[in-house]
């Protein structure tokens, strides 16, 4: 049977990371863009855990908590701002928000 070594997980994590990054580039709706960012953060947590398991050091898993907290804070604040903007223009997608340019 195939051996689920550490690189598998790393590859999976980087895949998720790139999906998140590309998602942010492609999608218009700020909410979805925000979710892509969260996706990227989760990819990093996966990498952390994989490394912690490989290095057999608990530090990696501890840092997952901090990432979690940070992600939560970001979500709360982010959604706050996005909702504030959406209330002002109902169908605001990211491209309309380009008053400042040049």
């Amino acid at each position: 049977m195939l051996e689920l070594t550490e690189t598998w997980y790393l590859v999976l994590a980087s895949l998720i990371f790139t999906i998140g990054a590309v998602g942010l580039l492609v999608r218009r709706n700020p909410l979805v863009m925000f979710m892509c960012v969260e996706l990227m953060l989760n990819a990093t947590t996966l990498t952390f855990v994989t490394f912690s398991k490989a290095l057999n050091d608990v530090g990696g898993q501890a840092s997952v908590f901090f990432v979690l907290v940070v992600a939560a804070a970001e979500v709360v604040v982010g959604l706050g701002i996005i909702v504030a903007i959406l209330r002002r223009q109902d169908n605001a997608d990211a491209d309309d928000l380009s008053l400042m340019r040049g």
């Binding site: 790393l10 990371f17 998140g20 990054a21 942010l24 700020p30 863009m33 925000f34 960012v37 990227m40 953060l41 990819a43 990093t44 990498t47 952390f48 994989t50 490394f51 490989a54 290095l55 050091d57 530090g59 990696g60 840092s63 901090f66 990432v67 940070v70 804070a73 970001e74 604040v77 982010g78 706050g80 701002i81 996005i82 504030a84 903007i85 002002r88 990211a94 928000l97 380009s98 008053l99 400042m100 340019r101 040049g102």
Partner: protein, 519 residues
């Protein structure tokens, strides 16, 4: 069959009952604690008093708190001078000249911005404690970042700093561009912190620990055969920190966010947050990976520096909005400071530190003046709004001229010396190409600053040189807080230009050292 399954999955219960908790030397965390508690107390006090607090109270409180934090630096500085830098809280936070210096810069920036903010908010009638609380908390984030000895602590400091900044940027409820700026800053900020985190994970994987001291130790002891992971970590971290510092490929957010967000906040962002960003940059790259791995990451930062210098200068030429001009010029300044970082020597770091301090005064002052000139609704920033300022508001125009000349690097101002030290550091390392590009960029940027001065004093002058009165001049009386702040900033800019040695000697000593954590 179910119970069999349940029994087989062991639930790990650790054996030893007591976990030794790290002993904390509270006094050395003074600046961090003062800022955090100051912010929280302000929040609770004002909410308990439910709006009976006078409007100047918030600003006064912030200034006192930041002043206290600044004051607390002195005993710590003397302690560091005596028995050298220390690492505290199980290696999480480092106390050395570098972190104290950057903390000083951030506190200065907070004081000046708070003073400017007070008048600004009254004019825009957006008075509220939230502004100051967020500023104090973001400052505390910056301080944590500056003294972080652990990548995760660095990340947390960065996040505290940025999340508060996202909100600050979008707090001007009536202006569309403010919320737009907030959103842009938020999404791209989150995007960049994801990169930074991924970089940290990579480095963690490659070196086995997130603690800078252990990483350095690890890199000294072992020679990595496959350094791919580590280099990838470098790349991602550079992306993350590069964003924070608005280095060029990652600078796109800066002009829009500086233009959109309320002007004193842009000032704070341009000075305080950028200082913290650079602190992170230097602490991670110059200090930890400064040794053998320097030539791995230096080319990347070199490219960033060159791009920032050129794009910052060239794009600034074609702007018509003064705030955007200042934004692009701050990108050019970032380029300059990056030179200090690329050189990766103590001389470079102290040059960068000095530059950051002078830059903090210049930029906060400039944005302060722009804020005042922006008049009601903080909208009037185009060049022709500045025409004839020299005649109608000579004092204000003069102060702004001093800041602009300082940013251009005219002698007898701090700007000149800071640029001089940085280029000096570059030349000492035979980075002649970099030095030349820096000077070219300074020349191009000079056109930008002089353009503003020309429009203030000379533009629209009829034949015998008398420039017209301004259409609707800004408020005659400059708010008290702003006047104090501008006074301090102008005095400091000139003082640093003429008598810089006290500060430069401090900057030279304030070079980061990683010290193994004893016990």
């Amino acid at each position: 069959m179910l119970s069999v399954i349940l029994q087989d999955t062991p639930i790990p219960i650790s054996a030893n009952p007591v976990i030794e908790t790290p002993e904390i030397v509270w006094s050395s965390l003074a600046p961090h604690l003062i800022l955090i508690l100051g912010g929280i107390l302000l929040l609770t006090l004002v909410s308990l008093l439910r709006g009976k607090a006078p409007s100047w109270f918030h600003a006064a409180w912030t200034v006192v708190v930041a002043g206290a934090a600044l004051g607390s630096l002195w005993p710590l500085w003397s302690r560091v001078q005596e028995d050298g830098p220390q690492t505290l809280i199980a290696g999480a936070v480092g106390l050395d000249g570098f972190s104290l210096f950057v903390t000083g810069i951030i506190c200065v920036s907070v004081i000046l911005s708070a003073l400017l903010l007070e008048g600004y908010l009254r004019r825009e009638n957006l008075v509220g404690p939230e502004w100051y609380v967020l500023m104090l908390l973001s400052a505390s984030g910056g301080v944590i970042m500056a003294s972080a000895n652990d990548l995760i602590v660095l990340f947390i400091g960065l996040e505290i700093l940025s999340v508060a900044a996202y909100v600050l940027a979008s707090m001007h409820s009536r202006r569309i561009s403010s919320s737009e700026a907030g959103l842009k800053y938020l999404i791209l900020g989150a995007f960049s912190s994801a990169f930074l985190l991924y970089g940290i994970a990579m480095t963690y994987g490659a070196t086995g620990s997130t603690n800078l001291v252990r990483i350095q130790q690890f890199l000294v002891d072992t020679v990595l055969i496959k350094n791919g992971m580590l280099l990838a970590g470098f790349a991602f971290m550079i992306v993350g920190l590069g964003f924070k510092v608005a280095a060029v490929p990652f600078h796109f957010w800066a002009p829009d966010v500086y233009q959109g967000s309320p002007t004193p906040i842009s000032g704070y962002m341009a000075s305080g947050i950028k200082a913290a960003g650079f602190a992170g940059f230097i602490r991670v790259f110059v200090v930890t990976f400064g040794g053998t791995y320097a030539q791995q990451w230096r080319p990347m930062v070199y490219a960033l520096a060159v791009l920032s210098l050129l794009v910052g200068a060239y794009m600034a030429l074609i702007q018509t909005n003064v705030k955007r001009m200042l934004a692009y010029s701050s990108i050019a300044h970032a380029g300059f400071i990056l030179i200090g970082v690329t050189v990766a020597t103590d001389k470079g770091t102290s040059a960068a530190l000095f530059y950051l301090l002078v830059y903090a005064f210049m930029v906060t002052g400039s944005f302060g003046v722009v804020g005042i000139i922006g008049r009601e609704g903080d909208g009037k920033h185009s060049l022709d709004d500045y025409q004839g300022l020299g005649k109608t508001r000579p004092g204000l125009a003069l102060i702004f001229a001093v800041f602009l000349l300082a940013q251009a690097g005219v002698p007898f101002t701090g700007g000149f010396l800071s640029k001089f030290y940085v280029i000096n550091a570059a030349v000492a390392e035979e980075q002649y190409v970099l030095a030349v590009i820096a000077m070219v960029s300074a020349v191009i940027a000079a056109y930008l600053y002089l353009r503003i001065i020309v429009s203030m004093y000379f533009a629209g002058a009829d034949d015998h040189g008398v420039s017209p009165e301004m259409a609707n001049p800004p408020a005659k009386k400059v708010p008290a807080g702003a006047a104090i702040a501008l006074g301090i900033a102008v005095f400091a800019t000139l003082w640093l230009g003429i008598v810089p040695d006290t500060v430069t000697s401090v900057a030279n000593e304030a070079v980061a050292r990683l010290v193994a954590f004893q016990g």
